[in-house]
């Protein structure tokens, strides 16, 4: 009873915030509503007894992906009002497509029938006396290890691709060579000189500045690119 009430509350907020994501005027509000939608989806997972998926959804989507979303949306200077200008013009077409899709879905789901005994034939029911975290782990790392690893590899390739595409050495930014910095010794940077009293002043009371040799420019190493940003 309480579970059912909670389900409808979470599902209702999920749908409402999903609608707000597309209809809100301010893009930052859109992203915040998206985060609310993620949260309610996580709550629905919890109600379904999939606590591992719920936590992963929050950690990955809310804790990392949406942060970067928000980051980008706040930084971008895009006039979203202009982008959304044709809303009324495209509304009839969009609404028609949406209604057709909804009808098709309704037809499919209306004719949906579970075969008797289908529940018993499920590929991998959660074993008795095992938490769902353990059950997911067992399935992923035994039966589906190759698919799982392939997915990981594809993500790795995408990550490397993104880095390769965006990494470029800006000639104007200066880099700090950490190794060079830490290898400096007192002997090569400091020179202690004992100066006679009055040696640095002229007769009229002015100050003589010592002639300092220009320091030799440090050779940038070939692999020094990308050591953080300039400063």
């Amino acid at each position: 009873m309480i579970t059912a009430i909670l389900f409808y509350i979470f599902a209702g907020i999920l749908l409402a915030s999903a609608a707000m994501v597309v209809s809100s005027r301010n893009p930052v509000h859109s992203v915040l509503f998206l985060i609310l939608a993620f949260f309610n989806a996580a709550a629905l997972f919890l109600i379904a007894g999939a606590e591992f998926l719920a936590m992963i959804l929050v950690i990955v989507y809310v804790g990392a992906v949406a942060v970067l979303f928000l980051f980008v949306v706040m930084m971008l200077d895009v006039d979203f009002a202009e982008l959304r200008g044709g809303f009324q013009r495209y509304l009839p077409v969009g609404a028609t497509v949406g209604v057709v899709l909804l009808l098709e879905l309704a037809i499919v789901l209306g004719g949906w029938e579970l075969a008797p005994g289908a529940v018993q034939l499920r590929m991998s029911p959660t074993p008795v006396g095992m938490s769902n975290t353990e059950a997911i782990g067992r399935i992923l790392y035994t039966d589906y290890i190759f698919q799982f690893q392939t997915a990981g590899l594809i993500l790795l390739v995408a990550m490397i691709g993104a880095i390769v595409l965006t990494l470029r050495d800006r000639k104007t930014s200066r880099h700090q060579n950490i190794r060079h910095q830490t290898e400096r010794t007192v002997a090569e940077t400091l020179q202690l000189v004992s100066v006679k009293l009055g040696a640095g002043t002229t007769a009229s009371g002015g100050i003589l500045r010592p002639i300092v040799a220009e320091p030799e420019p440090v050779e940038e190493e070939a692999d020094a690119g990308g050591h953080g940003h300039g400063h």
Partner: protein, 335 residues
């Protein structure tokens, strides 16, 4: 009586509220005295006296500060987004409180003993960045915005290596339940076999809570006060409370993961239980303050370099080594 509290809905609600209060009231008093301790410790390290006027040894100073904050006027900048501006400090404070639901303070003393406790803690601590980003954006001020941007990049970077540290601990325990993690350290605290991970976790905790030497989001000398520059009175107070509550939470997490939670060293005085846990938290908090008094602030590129080029590869390699060692010597739990 037992029947009323455990088998009726009203009884359960009363019980839960009582549990929450029993945890949160001491926590808030702890937060109040952490601010006092910080000022006293910093003063001692800089050969000053620190607060010593209000009450004996200045012990009532936190309450004087609290009263001052509550009675001041809340100022909302005219260009600010009012709803989000007020939401951000509440969010920060709420998240800092929310995480304590799963923290076991003693054997069996936990209000929500869930299977995925450690993931819950990780999820909640990774949400902390929203309070800061929203505050920075809603303030409509360039300093606040710069602070928020710094904070977002910093917290996301350090979460990655923190995640690897957590995975290493989970490998050694074979469970995601926080009580199980503590019980697995019965014979040896994890800070001994996983010593490098302990250090990485603690430094990442410093970065996650935006504490010195990683307090760039609020770097006073460059961007005034960073993300909370526009906040005043209680809305500022909530940020303040949230930050200190997060420090206590991170110390508690470190104690649970690496220092054996409620267990004494070498199984000494197991009946002390919760006192051991508090003692460990206090020791870790002292290190937080000690670090603040000792180290200068990191430069931003150094911060990013440390996170991505030192901690991330190191924790990844240590994770693989740990997994290999567990497999090779047959030490895997539940095997």
């Amino acid at each position: 009586m037992y029947d009323f509290f455990y088998n009726t809905n009203i009884g359960l609600v009363i019980l839960t509220v009582a549990e929450a209060l029993a945890l949160l009231v001491p926590l808030l008093i702890g937060v109040a005295y952490l601010t006092y301790a910080e000022r006293k410790v910093l003063a001692a390290m800089q050969m000053r006296k620190g607060p010593n006027v209000v009450g004996p040894f200045g012990l009532f100073q936190p309450f004087a500060d609290a009263i001052k904050m509550v009675t001041k006027e809340t100022i909302i900048p005219s260009g600010a987004n009012r709803v989000l501006f007020l939401l951000a400090p509440m969010l920060t404070f709420m998240l800092a409180m929310l995480a304590w639901a799963v923290v076991p303070v003693n054997d069996g003393w936990v209000s929500a003993d869930i299977n995925v406790g450690i993931l819950y803690l990780f999820a909640i601590s990774s949400l902390g960045v929203y309070g800061i980003i929203i505050a920075g954006w809603a303030s409509n001020s360039k300093y606040a915005f710069l602070g928020a941007m710094r904070s977002a990049a910093q917290m996301v970077s350090y979460e990655v290596s923190m995640g690897f540290v957590l995975v290493t601990v989970m490998l050694c325990v074979g469970s995601l339940n926080l009580s199980d993690i503590v019980r697995a350290q019965q014979h040896m605290w994890f800070c001994i076999p996983l010593f490098p991970m302990f250090i990485i976790f603690f430094i990442s905790a410093l970065a996650e809570t935006n504490r010195s030497p990683f307090d760039l989001p609020e770097g006073e000398s460059e961007i005034v006060a960073g993300f909370f520059v526009e906040y005043s009175s209680m809305s500022f107070g909530l940020f303040f409370l949230g930050e200190y509550a997060n420090m206590i939470l991170m110390s508690g997490m470190t104690a649970i993961l690496f220092l054996g939670g409620w267990m004494g060293p070498f199984g000494l005085w197991p009946q002390l239980g919760v006192l051991w846990f508090i003692l460990k938290i206090c020791a870790l908090l002292f290190v937080f303050l000690w670090v603040r008094a000792t180290f200068p602030r990191y430069r931003y590129d150094q911060l990013m370099r440390l996170g991505w080029k030192v901690f991330l590869p190191f924790s990844l390699i240590w994770l693989v080594l740990t997994a290999g060692a567990l497999m090779a010597f047959g030490w895997l739990p539940n095997a």
